[in-house]
Symmetry: C2
Subunit: 337 residues, 2 copies
Amino acid sequence: MKLKPLLALLITAHLGSAFAADDPLSAWNSGHAKQAIETWVKETTSSNSKDFIPVSQRYVVFDNDGTLWPEAPLTFQLQFVIDEIKRLAPQHPEWNNDALVQAVINNDMKVVMQSGKKGLMQLMALTHSGMTTEEFSQRVSNWVDNHRHARFGCRYDQLGYQPMRQLLDYLRDNGFKTWIVSGGGIDFMRVLAEKMYGIPPEQVVGSFSLSEFSLTDNGTQLRKTMNGAFYDDEAMKPVAIHLFMGRRPVGAFGNSDGDVPMLQYTSANPTYKTFGLLVHHTDAAREYAYDAHPPASGTLISGLRLAPQKGWVIVDMKKEWKTVFDPSLCAADQSSE
Amino acid sequence: MKLKPLLALLITAHLGSAFAADDPLSAWNSGHAKQAIETWVKETTSSNSKDFIPVSQRYVVFDNDGTLWPEAPLTFQLQFVIDEIKRLAPQHPEWNNDALVQAVINNDMKVVMQSGKKGLMQLMALTHSGMTTEEFSQRVSNWVDNHRHARFGCRYDQLGYQPMRQLLDYLRDNGFKTWIVSGGGIDFMRVLAEKMYGIPPEQVVGSFSLSEFSLTDNGTQLRKTMNGAFYDDEAMKPVAIHLFMGRRPVGAFGNSDGDVPMLQYTSANPTYKTFGLLVHHTDAAREYAYDAHPPASGTLISGLRLAPQKGWVIVDMKKEWKTVFDPSLCAADQSSE
């Protein structure tokens, strides 16, 4: 009968897709990274395991830029700053005489980068202070609605890494509380994190400044300022974790040397078996390859050096990730697969 | 038959106790406060109500000192400071020449109070900085284990107000996420909040300073400092709520004018029907009566003035609370009931 092979094919195809759907980490290739993740989760969540971690202690922290979404060639937030400066410029004739602002408007990124931290803080002040917290969130939402990533052609909120989004889901399904601890702005990330990653605002920790409270004619307002600026990177990440979370994490996931102190703090947890992971950007075809130019330049040097002795898992994107972006959200990734 | 009345009595008694046990707010007297709480919870959690609040938005904030536990005549944390100074003094001969420290050791509270904010910060520095975050938590635990409240004779962690602890449980049972937002020290409160109130550390917001991260021979450490001190009171409470929580609350519970901005910020929520409540300390027999001496002195003056126009519920402790402390934890309250 001719139907049989067709039937077999249909059944196989059905089972195949069912199996894929059953794999919570289907965007990961079978390999040491996926295996290490699954082993650690099994060891720490099986109630009869010697490494069992009570649910109340399952706190894991993720960097954002370069760990959950791309950071090259510019961070999303810096692109937002640039787009906002251009949008706001017509209302600010006084900016005509500002060399740095003019460089932004003219896409002279060399001048922008050379302006260093001082220049960046000036641009942050122009785009991240003065408005109410609600207005700022609305501006970020509007920006997301009206801009597409230059290379991938997708909305920015479609560009979370699919394997990492699956990892967040997988960890939550196993009782872990997922946190972002990032150098990105706390108010900027919070607009996106719930939709993109399923992470509520209070579990998003980032760089921040203090807002200013006042009464208004019909209520109250919080206005963003640059006061008390806290830059959540490097040694300040463990500080922020203690301040916001109040527990030492059992897992830490990053991609650069700025995440190393957070991984060190986590690995030194005196009570529980911990997990550390670093995303290694090796995939110029599907994303970017930029983080390590041995022996000494790049954004991930000490992380790679420390990983073997600390037992941190290095995720070589090119090898370990089946897809980079979710093709159902964004087709960017498909051409180069 | 003689059995009938007895049977009836037994059934009535049984039903009576069953009803009491079924009442999640059994430590509250029937009255306007209890009724207002129940009405708001019903209105905002019944899915067919016009005032329904989605679970993801049910964030409520509680002050701690004077709202969840006593603050008179000294806050628990100031008592901890005093007890710590006395405990540590033998190791610090250099304190012999310090007039303020000597006043603490000699229980000369008049001098301590007159030293003002500057003096208080000095005492805080001596007892809240220099040690690791873990050492500090251990010191707070040791203090709780080894001290009793002078008037009530109970451990400090037995002195949460029973009606408010029930209210926290009741709100959580109805899908609300309960937060502490207090002028108390964040690290101090976090040691106690989980056990006393069922509130995990990340939902405890308070005054804070930044810790300092470093590597050690066998791991990492976070050492407490006085840097970047943030005093979480008055207009800084909404600022802290935005920073830590990232949402505007739908309910706010306090007891003093320092909580008024937090209640104003909550009441001005543009989207949801909110709830505001102020505990009014009127009960010298069972606790303390100290907060309002009209027309102008006291810790709860503008709160009482604003309450009627804002719709905030004033909880007259003497009238509204059946018990102040949980008699199963602490017998303090029983003699005067």
